[in-house]
Amino acid sequence: MSMFTNTNGDPKSDFGILAEEKESFLKRIPKTQTFQIVSVLFVITAIFSAIAPSTFFTLFNLRNIIINISVFAVLGVGMTFVIITAGIDLSVGSVLVFSSVIACKAIVAAGAKGWGTTFMGIFVAVAVATAWGALNGWLVSIAKVPAFIVTLGSLSAALGVSQIITGGIDLRGATPELVNKIGFGNVYKQIPVLGVIAVVVVILGGILLHKTKFGLLTYAVGSNTEACRRVGINVNRQLIYVYSLMGFTAGIGGIMSLAMYQQTTIAGQSNTALTVIAGVVIGGTSLFGGYGTIFGTMIGLFIPIVLQTGFIIIGVVPFWQNVVVGVFLVAAVYVDNARRNAADGGGKSLKKRSKKSTS
């Protein structure tokens, strides 16, 4: 199709954008990775409920699943932003631990009871983790150390600092309010407070990513950093914000886990980053940046949990879940690659071309 009207043509008649738009939207849906992954979740659920029709949904303890997934969901929001910028954050688990350790210290120092102390603890956890995220962002964008290395360093350092502060022994220091009203609390009947917090964070994160300038710039930076620089976008600032947001969500995760377990979880978060990254990637976000959705991440996080529940019910050793998640992860990246290669060359060929042409 010609992109300029020829000189004697009427430009308006060639400008058939709206008609094309409507038609292709419906056609495009089945091709999106989000749709594919929702189908996978649907199929898995269908298989389990077919094998064990009477027990799957009854034993499917929704409340436990929601509580299990709520911390991961919150972290998944931050991680989706980071991975869309073509970055990665391996340090979330350690930053989460670090924020809960500092919050615990602060709560104990303030007397360990009352709503005032509770909110102070929440604030401290979030502030500390956001600051650590900002440091990651600064190192990635301005010091130009690869994100993989920066956050691998943070993974080790944040855990190390937490161990130094605590001597390696978990701190118990949550206020009764934090434990009873937030950790075990229900908003209404069996609807857990932690789940509601997660849902709120996920919805706000989704709005921020998909509806605001901040989200658009996140995609843009991940799509073509150099193009953003040339049109005057402050790329470094955007990256620092995105890693700070990751830290912010790790801080919320830190306080949620403190509320849930009534103590810090120094040794318990070593797999957190991998679980979250797997969820984001299975959910269709591209490790190469520029593409991804919060909704996909949530589906990507649900798949391992549904598998786990399902395996228990049908009597398969639940360790199989790890194997299947590993396969899913590799398959998701394979599909993403295939999609990028198929999409007319897409971003890849553009990058190739720009490399060739900087003669």
Partner: protein
């Protein structure tokens, strides 16, 4: 007559390579200046410096006679200088509208705008108008530009810069990826933008194109502008000679 944009004694080094060695250059308003030279002469480097994407090691940049300093591309954009870069500079995952307004997003009115929500309708309309104004059509405003052909992407990049430029517009090999009809349209577009009083810098390796579109030709060789011709008073042999160095003596 004051120049819309003037560069004096620009030096730019990449390690040991001296890409620009005290290069002079100027653009007049409402005039098409062709910038020609062999591969590696330094044309793209000069464009990157005059558009603020890179900073010179030495030298001076003047806008309408006043010395300016570009710390970033937004500085030069604020002066009404726009560039269609050789390597396009679109975000392949974003659509035509998002690319059109990249770095210039229009916020919604009121409190929602302050919260970072965008006015998609205004931007869609603005893009549509810009493409139509240039006689350009784009396959879709919602498809990602990465899924479009090289020529379609180029038309978006060209339309974007032309829509925002108020003083100087650089084209670094804008027709390289285009078909015959599309080339003709870009040349028409260049004339139309020039007639608005904007100074145009047109980089191309196609001498017939240069002779057709430009009012003036400045020739670069090994990091220096070595000649400045009125297009009406020059010809193919002279230009090729200047580029390759055969006419070094004559041009001094």
């Amino acid at each position: 007559m004051t120049y819309a944009l003037e560069a004096k004694g620009i030096v730019r080094r990449y390690g040991h390579v001296e890409a620009l060695r005290g290069c002079n250059f100027n653009v007049k308003p409402g005039e098409v200046t062709a910038l020609i030279g062999d591969n590696g002469a330094g044309k793209s480097t000069l464009v990157r410096i005059l558009s603020g994407a890179e900073q010179p090691d030495e030298g001076e940049i003047l806008i309408e006679g006043k010395a300016v300093h570009f710390n970033s591309p937004s500085d030069s954009r604020n002066f009404g200088i726009e560039t269609v870069f050789q390597d396009l500079a679109l975000c392949p995952h974003l659509n035509a509208v998002q690319n059109m307004y990249l770095g210039r997003e229009v916020p919604r009115k009121g409190i929602l705008g302050k919260l970072g929500f965008l006015d998609h309708e205004v931007m869609r309309q603005g893009s549509e108008d810009a493409f139509r104004d240039l006689g350009a059509t784009v396959r879709s405003l919602t498809a990602s530009t990465g899924s479009m052909s090289g020529g379609q992407r180029q038309s978006i990049a060209v339309a974007r810069s032309a829509a925002w430029a108020t003083k100087v517009l650089f084209f670094d090999e804008p027709t390289a990826a285009l078909g015959v009809v599309q080339k003709k349209n870009v040349l028409n577009l260049v004339r139309r933008v020039r007639d608005k009083g904007i100074g145009i810098v047109f980089i191309s390796h196609s001498m017939p194109e240069v002779l057709e579109i430009s009012d003036r030709v400045q020739v670069m060789r090994r990091g220096l502008t070595i000649a400045d011709y009125k297009t009406s008073e020059t010809n193919l042999e002279e230009l090729v000679g200047a580029m390759t160095g055969r006419l070094d003596e004559a041009s001094k």
